[in-house]
């Protein structure tokens, strides 16, 4: 057994470990620069973010080591228990959590805080992998789809109550996992179509249009009129150009999709205009380049873009970015850390960072594909998808391609919960991967 353990450890994917260490240390360097305080220049100063991040890094390294020494089977067997534990924490935080920026997302422990939502993805990943790899689970079946949706949706709902919309959005990552495991590709396409149609609904619903005969009406009705006209044109087309035996089915498809899209469009517009709080609405408007009433609502977005642009090709140099050093971007060391990299390391630095993340994600996907156990493969995809989702939203937000949503850049942003959470997520997979030749399941 002892011998077996040693052989397993030699099979740990050291390339991925190296990438991980590079990201963590480079991130720490940039946190030091972004949070730099001339009166506390010592990088291990615990009163500053960079000093505390060092502590988080030490803890994370320890956790990583522990994960590498765990039995892979342990995660499979205890998946439900781990999932249940984190769901319990999510429920508990709603009761005893402390409120930060209007969301009850933190357990306070002295001056430190723990954010259970950063850990809950591990539970979801493990349980989802266990369920999908069980015999009988087939995405053809509605039952499988519903159970999978339940596993993902339950913690997501708890996080939505906090409310932390950003973290909920990262749960969308699991669609990629289910797609890989057999969920119809139409889901992806419908999802993409829904995004486009949703954007159109938000943009048109935000203004009013002077309609003939009806006067000033909400702009969403223009979309309704267009969809109705398209439906009528579709019916006319089917009547004239389609053989009669296929017509009935096509009429149904047109009717259902028209009603569905109208309902979707009206409800998206209604939610954005009437349900969302004004600061959420403003964030969406800012991302869509729509006019925002309150001055300064797009301040963070503007400052982030200016900071990125300030980097130029080769960057302003470490600790020398004028935007970063003068704190134009609020709390830059957390969700906006990418802008510090972009300013001080330039276009080349940004490319290296994005390239490293893309390579890491692709490497994890390829590692997942080499697993003999379906459990390990699905879990690998969970890890890759979560990293991808965070990269997509976080970097997209900094460079103005996504709304301002507060989620961290994995291994890079300041914060103990996220660093530990991502470390656990990754190293559980590395342990599973190291065991891939031991187990036949």
């Amino acid at each position: 057994m002892k011998n077996q353990q040693n052989i397993t450890l030699t099979r740990v994917d050291w390339t991925t470990v190296s990438i991980y260490i590079f990201l963590v240390l480079f991130g720490w360097m940039n946190i030091y620069s972004a949070a730099y305080d001339a009166s506390h220049p010592f990088i291990f100063d615990f009163s500053k973010e960079y000093g505390r991040q060092f502590l988080f890094i030490l803890i994370s390294f320890f956790l990583a080591l522990v994960m590498l020494y765990m039995e892979g089977d342990f995660f499979n067997k205890l998946a439900l228990f781990i999932y249940g534990f984190f769901v319990l924490l999510l429920a508990l935080v709603l009761v005893v959590g402390k409120e930060v920026n209007g969301a009850k997302a933190w357990f306070g422990v002295g001056s430190f805080g723990i954010q259970p939502s950063e850990f809950s993805k591990i539970g979801v990943g493990l349980l989802l992998s266990k369920y999908i790899s069980s015999t009988g689970a087939k995405f053809k079946n509605w039952k499988t789809r519903l159970v999978a949706a339940g596993i993902i949706g339950f913690p997501a709902l708890l996080i939505l109550i906090q409310p932390d919309v950003g973290s909920v959005l990262t749960f969308v990552a699991f669609i990629f996992v289910m797609y890989r495991e057999g969920l119809s590709g139409n889901v992806l396409i419908i999802g993409l179509g829904a995004i486009v149609f949703g954007v159109l609904s938000i943009v048109s619903g935000a203004g009013t249009i002077d309609f003939p005969f009806f006067g000033e009406q909400n702009g969403i009705y223009l979309l309704v009129v267009i969809v109705t006209i398209l439906a009528i044109l579709g019916i006319v087309f089917v009547r004239n150009f389609i053989v009669p035996r296929n017509r009935k089915l096509l009429y149904w498809i047109i009717a259902v999709s028209t009603v569905a899209s109208l309902l979707f469009s009206l409800s998206v517009s209604y939610i954005v205009e009437n349900v969302l709080e004004s600061h959420h609405r403003e964030r969406i408007y800012v991302m869509l380049s729509m006019p925002v009433e309150r001055e300064g609502a797009d301040y963070n977005s503007q400052m982030a873009k200016i900071t990125v642009g300030s980097g130029g090709v080769f960057g302003q140099g470490y600790l020398q970015g004028p935007m970063t050093q003068n704190n134009y971007v609020p709390e830059q060391w957390t969700d906006f850390i990418f802008s510090a990299v972009a300013e001080e390391w330039g276009f080349f630095g940004s490319l290296v960072l994005i390239g490293t993340f893309v390579l890491l994600i692709i490497r994890i996907i390829n590692m997942a594909e080499r697993q003999r156990s379906q459990f390990s493969r699905v879990y690998g995809y969970c890890v890759a998808s979560i990293f991808f989702m965070h990269l997509l939203i976080n970097v997209g937000m900094v460079i103005g391609l996504a709304p301002i949503i507060g989620i961290p850049l994995p291994f890079f942003s300041y914060g103990g919960s996220s660093l530990m959470g991502f470390t656990l997520l990754l190293f559980i997979f590395l342990r599973l991967d190291a065991e891939r030749l031991n187990i036949f399941r």
Binding site: S310, G312, I354, V358, E369, I399
Partner: protein, 603 residues
Amino acid sequence: MNFDSRRITIILIVSVIGIIYALRLLSLQVINDEWKNQGVALTEKEVIVYPSRGLIYDRKGRLLVTNQTVYDLMVLPKDVKPFDTTAFCKLVGLSYEELTSGLKKAVSWPNVKYKPSPIIKQMTPPEYARISEELYKYPGFFGTPRTLRIYPQSIGALLLGDVAEIDKGELEQKPDYRRGDYIGKSGIEKAYEEELRGTRGVRYVFRDNLGIERNVAEGKLDVAAVEGTDLIATIDAELQRYGEELMQNKRGCIVAIEPSTGEVLALVSAPTYDPNLLVGRTRGNNFRALNSDLQKPLFNRATQAQYRPGSIFKLAQSLTALQLGTITPQTRIVCNRGIIGCHGSHSNDDLEMAIVHSCNPYFRGVMQRVVEGDRDPSSRFKDARIGLDIWQGYIKRFGFGSNLKTDIPGVKTGLVPGVSYYDKWYGELQWAYSTIYSLSIGEGEMLITPIQMCNLACVIANRGWYVSPHTVKQIGNGGKPRDEFLVRYDTGIDTAHFRVVVDAMEKVVGPGGTANRAKLKDIVICGKTGTVQNEPKEDHAVFVCFAPKDDPKIAMAVYVENAGFGGTWAAPIASMMIEKYLTDTVSNKAEEKRILEANFLDR
């Protein structure tokens, strides 16, 4: 069913997102300069380095104009943190309303919250020192030094001029100035703006990670400021001060010029004011008060007031007629008081005595000989046209009726009426000498400024030429005046013709002369009085002179409005100024007291 191929789709999606983000970064960081420029605008500050404005000294090296440092309290709204407004208002001495409106102004167009704006302007060094120690408690507030003009002698307000913030109109014409820059508004400050101003420098700074301002690119982009050039003025501060004292409670002016160089020794316009009134925070109010003063202290009577010259013009008439040969010093003309009045007991003077007696009929005859020269016997109207043209040509060469090429801003030209003037007034061939003869004694349409009167005295002192009057003798210590002030203008009148005129002027100040009050024991003054009628008010007293007779050092014109006889009021002032300038003392204390106590302001 096997879904292994879906791996490719997912990797493709990840890669495409990576490429999209890379392209977006390429656009933000490399292709598009807009974001970078906005960053530079936010973080780099262009600090303007104001050169200190050139100083002005008098001809004897006494400081006339210097600079004093004051402080503007600025606010950079971006850096302002919530602060105790009550304590702050108490510290800097503002009311709460003034503070809030100042802060509001600092963030309203065209000010932006990333650029500093002034909250309090021009605090004195002690005022600023008192608050500067506490200022660290209020991030975003800081003081910037700025210099003000100070006039330590408190004299020569109109001559030296003033400096103020550039206004909109000037800004449009002078692209190298900026809003808030200071510029000379009048006097030497305006005329020598280019030299005094120096060249503004620029420092580019940014705040480094220690919060210290550092030079961008090690200061290679910086432009050093070039200090303004100092000027040596032509005036004598003591003479100027004495002239201003003598003219207190009077309206009028004194012009004193060194004939050989055209250097203005004193230029007094009364009533005057302390030039320090138009400096700093109180400038606005003081300017309004001076501007609405009925005695017009801002009006430079020495260069802008256009008076009828009166009897002193007879000097120019004599010289013109002598040069034309229409009279000789021996020419006698009967004092026929039928057409034009006269005073004193004389009946048939020669030229010298006619000048001494200021005989009006004599000079009516002199000018008649000049104008009615029988050059066109067909018509006396045509003849007058030819004659007046010739006369006007000579008179203008004395510097009358045209712009003396002086460096004093805003000088007026005066008027020497000619053919076209009378054609317009009476119609062509509708006038003859009999219509315009009052010109002959300096009345009628003739207008000249006091500085032109003094220039006439210079011409006579130099026996035929003058240098344009100017107020700066050295640009830069040990430098030269402007080129145009090294040029002699010749009047075209032979030196020989001046002898009789100068002798007559000596007699004017001599025993029995109209200006006998001006006589000095050791200095021979040559002068000519004038008394310009000013119905229904008192006459204006006029006196022009130069001294000493044989080696003239100073030429003067004194004009005292509504004072009465020139010999009683203007001549003694000139005499005391001459004595003061040449000997540094004034001997006749009784006369000095009489002048100092005279008050003509209410006339």
